[in-house]
C-alpha cells in the first residue's frame, strides 16, 4: 500500500495561504496567490484550518492570560536587559489589556515561591493603573483585581481557595493551567485571608479545602497571605 504524505502542490502551499492572510504578500505574488486560492479546495481547507486555529487560541489562551504568562517568563530572565523592559508591560496587558498605560513595577519579595524546585504560583495585582506582583506584607487595596498565575510543573489538577475567618471561597478548580488563570478575582473582605493553591496529580475538590491539611496527599500546596 502506498501512502501520500502530501507536500507542496501545483500552486498550493499552506504557508503561502498563511502569508496571504497575514498581509505578507504583495505585487504579482499576491495577485497570483489570491487568484489561485479563490478556486482551490485544498487552499480553502487551509483557510478553514487557520480559522480553527484562531478559534482555539481565543478559547484556550485569551490575550490577558497569554500576556501575563509571557510577562512571567520574561521576568524569570532578569539578566536579560530586554526582559526587564518587557515584563511589566506584558503583565499589565495580561491583567487589564491596557495598551499605552503608564505602568509601575517594583522588584518585590513575594510569598509565593517554588515547591519541589519547580511548582510555583504568583499573584498579580491591579490597582487603578498600577499593575504589580503582590509583595510580602502588601495590603490589598479595596477594589483591586487579583490574577493568579500557576506553574504546575507537571501537576495535572489545580484548585485555588480563599480562606477567611468563617468563610471559604473557591477561586478556581480544574486543569492545572500553565500560566495565568483566565479569571481575575477581587477580595472584598478585611483583616487577613489566605489564598491556598493546590497542585495535584489527582482531582482536587476545592470546596472541601479549608486548610493545607485538606489537600490531597502528595500535592503541592502554596499559600499567599492577603492583608487589608
Amino acid at each position: 500500500m502506498n501512502l501520500d504524505l502530501g507536500g507542496p502542490g501545483a500552486g498550493c502551499s499552506a504557508m503561502r495561504v498563511r502569508r496571504l492572510l497575514a498581509g505578507e504578500l504583495s505585487g504579482v505574488e499576491k495577485e497570483r496567490t489570491e487568484a489561485h486560492v479563490e478556486g482551490c479546495e485544498r487552499c480553502a481547507a487551509v483557510r478553514q484550518e487557520i480559522a480553527a486555529e484562531r478559534e482555539a487560541l481565543r478559547r484556550d489562551v485569551p490575550f490577558p492570560q497569554f500576556a501575563a504568562a509571557v510577562a512571567e517568563k520574561l521576568a524569570r530572565r532578569p539578566q536579560h536587559r530586554f526582559a526587564t523592559r518587557w515584563a511589566p508591560l506584558a503583565a499589565a496587558a495580561g491583567v487589564a489589556l491596557i495598551a499605552g498605560t503608564l505602568l509601575v513595577r517594583r522588584p518585590v519579595e513575594t510569598e509565593t515561591v517554588r515547591a519541589k524546585g519547580a511548582a510555583s504560583a504568583r499573584l498579580f495585582i491591579q490597582d487603578g493603573k498600577e499593575v504589580r506582583e503582590l509583595s510580602a506584607g502588601d495590603a490589598v487595596p479595596e477594589g483591586a483585581r487579583l490574577l493568579l498565575s500557576l506553574r504546575p510543573a507537571g501537576r495535572k489538577r489545580a484548585a485555588a481557595v480563599l480562606v477567611e475567618a468563617g468563610e471559604t471561597s473557591v477561586i478556581y478548580q480544574g486543569r492545572a493551567v500553565n500560566g495565568t488563570l483566565p479569571q481575575a478575582f477581587e477580595w472584598t473582605g478585611k483583616g487577613v485571608a489566605t489564598l491556598l493553591v493546590v497542585l495535584s496529580d489527582s482531582a482536587v475538590d476545592a470546596k472541601s479545602i479549608r486548610s493545607v491539611a485538606d489537600a490531597p496527599r502528595g500535592a503541592d500546596v502554596l499559600t499567599v497571605t492577603l492583608r487589608r
Binding site: M15, R19, D60, A67, P107, E133, R217
Partner: protein
C-alpha cells in the same frame, strides 16, 4: 514564615505536613523596569498576527493543550528577545513558525520514548487499517524516526508546504542538502512503516 502545627520546617524554607510539601515565603524574580514605559501594543499585535498559528503548530506537534500553551508562551519570549531578527525576516509567519517547530521538536526529543511509542502505535494501526490515515498525523509520528535536521525539513515540506527551493533559502542550506534531508526522512518513514510512501518528488 508560618510553621504549621505538626509540620516539619525544612532547610529551604518549606514545610512538610502529613507528606504534603508547603512553601511559604521566598523571592520573586527581579522584574523591575528601569527603562521608560513602552507601549504594550506590540505584544498585542504579535498575538493577533501570529499566536494562533504558533498555538496551532504547538498543538499539532505536542498533542497536549497544556504543553502547547506553555510552548506558545516560550516561543513568544524567544520572539521578544529576538525582535531585530524577527523584523528582518523575509516572512514573519515563516520565521515564527520555524521557531515554534524547533521549540516543539526539542521538547519531543526530550521525551523520545513517548514519541517512539506513538510511532509504534501508528505502525500497529497501519497493519490493520485499510483507509489512509490522516497524513499530517502520520508525518508527526514519523518525525520521531528521522534525524534532527530531517525532522525540520519534513515539517517545512509536508506541513508548511514550502517548496524545496524555499526550504533551502529559509534554512540557508543548498538545494541538494534539502533534498538529501527529505530522502532521509522518507527512508526512515518507509522503514518504520514497512510500506511505500508518496508525496515527494525526489
Amino acid at each position: 514564615m508560618r510553621v504549621l502545627a505538626g509540620g516539619v520546617l525544612l532547610e529551604d524554607g518549606a514545610v512538610t505536613v502529613r507528606g504534603l510539601r508547603v512553601v511559604v515565603g521566598g523571592r520573586a524574580g527581579d522584574v523591575a523596569a528601569p527603562g521608560a514605559p513602552m507601549s504594550a501594543g506590540l505584544l498585542a499585535e504579535l498575538y493577533e498576527k501570529h499566536a494562533a498559528a504558533v498555538y496551532g503548530r504547538c498543538r499539532y506537534l505536542l498533542r497536549d493543550d497544556a504543553e502547547a500553551m506553555d510552548a506558545l508562551q516560550d516561543v513568544f519570549v524567544k520572539v521578544l528577545q529576538a525582535l531585530p531578527e524577527f523584523r528582518a525576516a523575509a516572512s514573519a509567519s515563516t520565521w515564527i513558525l520555524r521557531i515554534a517547530t524547533h521549540h516543539c521538536l526539542n521538547l519531543l526529543r526530550a521525551r523520545k520514548a513517548l514519541w517512539r511509542e506513538q510511532l509504534r502505535t501508528a505502525q500497529a494501526e497501519r497493519r490493520h487499517e485499510t483507509e489512509a490515515p490522516d497524513r499530517r498525523e502520520l508525518v508527526r509520528v514519523l518525525l520521531s524516526a528521522a534525524p534532527e535536521e530531517a525532522q525540520e525539513v519534513a515539517v517545512l515540506y509536508f506541513v508548511d508546504e514550502l517548496t524545496q527551493a524555499e526550504i533551502a533559502q529559509e534554512m540557508g542550506r543548498s538545494l541538494p542538502t534539502v533534498r538529501k534531508r527529505l530522502r532521509e526522512f522518507l527512508s526512515c518513514a518507509r522503514e518504520a512503516l514497512g510500506i511505500e510512501l508518496e508525496g515527494a518528488d525526489l
